[in-house]
Amino acid sequence: MQEWIWRDVRIEVPADWEMLQFSREREKGRCAFADRRQFRLELSWRQVKGAPDFPRMMSDYKSRLESRGELQDAQTFTQAGWHGLAGKQKNLEVSRFGNYFDGDKLLVEIVFLWPDKRDVSLEKNVLQSCRYSVSEKGFRICKAFGLVCRIPETFEFSACHVQPALASMIFTGPRKPAQIKFQRLGMVPQWMKHPLADWLRAQVPKDVRNLNMESEKQNGHEVVSVTGKYAPKGLLLPKGLYSARAWICPTDGRLYHAENICRPGEDFSVCPLDCCGGAL
């Protein structure tokens, strides 16, 4: 099983299930996991005012799906504390579950698709693992696409780009120019033709001056770091401090890159990005 933490919802899914669709919105969104052949799980969330009346909601849901002819042989039940509804949809077994996470007043729905036969044991394991991920010491955790990052609670998830061998996430602070960016890149020997320090220097925005580069060994990783002053040209543009780190993990061969622009006086210079089970 592999753990994912997305939009403060923690879930464990089989290791060969990958997230292929996602939305970043906090209030309402969804993400979908697929195995190599087809989508297997959809996780959707919505912020609500309070806990819903689940028995009534599930019965209404069941009636609606049955009246539309979208679900046959439907049955409602409870599994691992989740309110469930299972049945057949287009010759495919489908089980849907709903739960309410009080931590963030979140209504969560999980839909499983079973191409062969419904695996109740796997279903139970996934449902038991799914819960609200509580912040630790003012930091939220985001765990997806091989990245495990800790972000200050006040920061918003503003962008996420996922391509083959590239995953990047950007979080922006409440006041400009505060921003944190995490990247994980693959196939490094195929495109990296220069030393890592040169690559890191090339990533530094043009508005950063007084660069100071360092290199040190941490947990068996050669970590290259750069710091500088973020000073965009323009009288009213906010200034800040810039820091970035990069390393190539000897275990998975991927390049990890963490970049942080913070306001003067704030100390987010150590915004940890995990690698090999530990924070670097």
């Binding site: 697929a34 190599r36 698709l113 391509q163 061998a165």
Partner: protein, 121 residues
């Protein structure tokens, strides 16, 4: 559930087998690991003198494959399924299955559009 959730687009493609264009000619560069695939072009009906005195069309369309593309090309032997090619690519370059699937299918699409490959379902 959104459209495509129950029947995604990639499933059928995984069982497909890629067949090389028999007329295609390949040249290997041992130094760089690149492969040049030359596919003969079909001349349009109007491509006769005096038009050919002014407009010259190449006899072959050349596609240069980098070492990554060369691996995909070499596996397109009419026997390996696309799924097998994806697995080998993922293993060799340390990618996940879907990362490899997107890369390999993009490459295959490009080779199909250039007439170097055909799909057998």
């Amino acid at each position: 559930m959104i459209e495509g959730f129950t029947s995604p687009s990639w499933t059928e493609m995984l069982d497909a087998v890629m067949i090389r264009n028999r007329a295609a000619r390949e040249e290997r560069d041992a130094k760089t690991g690149e492969i040049r695939v030359a596919v003969p072009t079909r001349k349009p009906w109007w491509h006769i003198p005096p038009v050919t005195w002014i407009v010259h069309s190449p006899a072959e369309r050349i596609t240069v494959l980098d070492p990554l593309g060369a691996l995909v090309w070499e596996m397109c032997d009419g026997k390996n399924t696309v799924e097998k090619i994806i697995d080998v690519f993922a293993e060799k370059y340390g990618l996940t299955f879907h990362e490899s699937r997107v890369s390999v299918t993009q490459y295959l699409k490009r080779l199909i559009s250039r007439g170097a490959l055909a799909v057998a379902l």
